[in-house]
Symmetry: C2
Subunit: 193 residues, 2 copies
Amino acid sequence: MSRKNSRTRILDAALTLITKRGEAGVTMAEIAKAARVSRQAVYLNFADRGDLLIALVRYVDEKRGLAQEIQKIANAPTGLEALRVMVSVQVRMNPGVWAIARAMDAVRRTDQAVERSWLDRLNSRLEGCRAIVARLARDGVLRKELPASAAADILWSVTSLRTWEDLVLQRGWTAAQYEERIYKLLLSTLTSK
Amino acid sequence: MSRKNSRTRILDAALTLITKRGEAGVTMAEIAKAARVSRQAVYLNFADRGDLLIALVRYVDEKRGLAQEIQKIANAPTGLEALRVMVSVQVRMNPGVWAIARAMDAVRRTDQAVERSWLDRLNSRLEGCRAIVARLARDGVLRKELPASAAADILWSVTSLRTWEDLVLQRGWTAAQYEERIYKLLLSTLTSK
DNA sequence: TACTTGACTTGACATGATGTCAAGTATTAC
DNA sequence: GTAATACTTGACATCATGTCAAGTCAAGTA
């Protein structure tokens, strides 16, 4: 068994456990057991809990093809189309990602490295939002009285995982409802009709 | 020293520590020390960590006069005014409340009682949102194509502590900017101009 | 064939937080 | 003067994290 095999087995096990049990009380020992590996093997592959989580996010991104999905947004013909595609990408990605995001959020207060990784992702999402707002502005559909930075912040916040969690997981919106209503919200908030 | 004194001293100490240090790694021993009380006194007054947190939210609500603030919303002359007052109440209350909310959110996954208390508050806020939406509908300003339940969900999500945290704490919006922009967002999303 | 190396296992250990228990002390209330 | 109340002190069990040392086992190399 090569190290690589162990490593991905551990990642898969962690992913399954955290996704299924909502992050709470998933212990390193349980992850090791689920990966059919000794607890110490986990520490040989990952420095600590935070390190495992950071690796896990990357792993999930890759597994789900995040990069390609983001490309789809950039490839949209217009700013408005980009907006629509962004919401639709979210709808597809979030169900598989939110549990790991919760887990990171829980640890980041006590783990510098996790906090950095968290802020990294946060910033790159914000960059994406700025790009879309810039396109809206170029297309001349951005509300005149709204500063671009504020528009990007709003887009970023409204399309956050947290909002999705609130509306879909808590309030029971279907994916289709979320997609349509959030798009409309963004339309009426960010654009002039 | 009566029990009541110890109890409020503990609550004040916990409030200060959690508010200052952002909830992470605030230990029962630290709280006890800050309250100049033995660690066991904490367990005599509160069953466990979760119980302390639950008591803490109530304590903060009372201290900050949450009930009166909510009354102000109900007293607003129109639905649109209620909406505005709601946002303004939020701006004033959130800074003193968010740290405790974070702490509860962190524990609720592993603590049934905390989860119940969390859902309680969540539901009562949702009720408040429904009431405002009902007033908007009665005033005839609610968007026709938007179901009241969806409107309430959106209002609830947009005015959540999380959104406030994102925009004010993370993105650095001032209180005034938050108040104005969120009100406008709600206006353009929920009402027909 | 013997030797080394890499990847892992086993089991022990230190640390730190939570929550519990038993026994003692001081203040108040009757 | 006694009993109850509200603590304090100190010990203890439990559990998760992370570390360490020694051993196994298969593959590649001399």
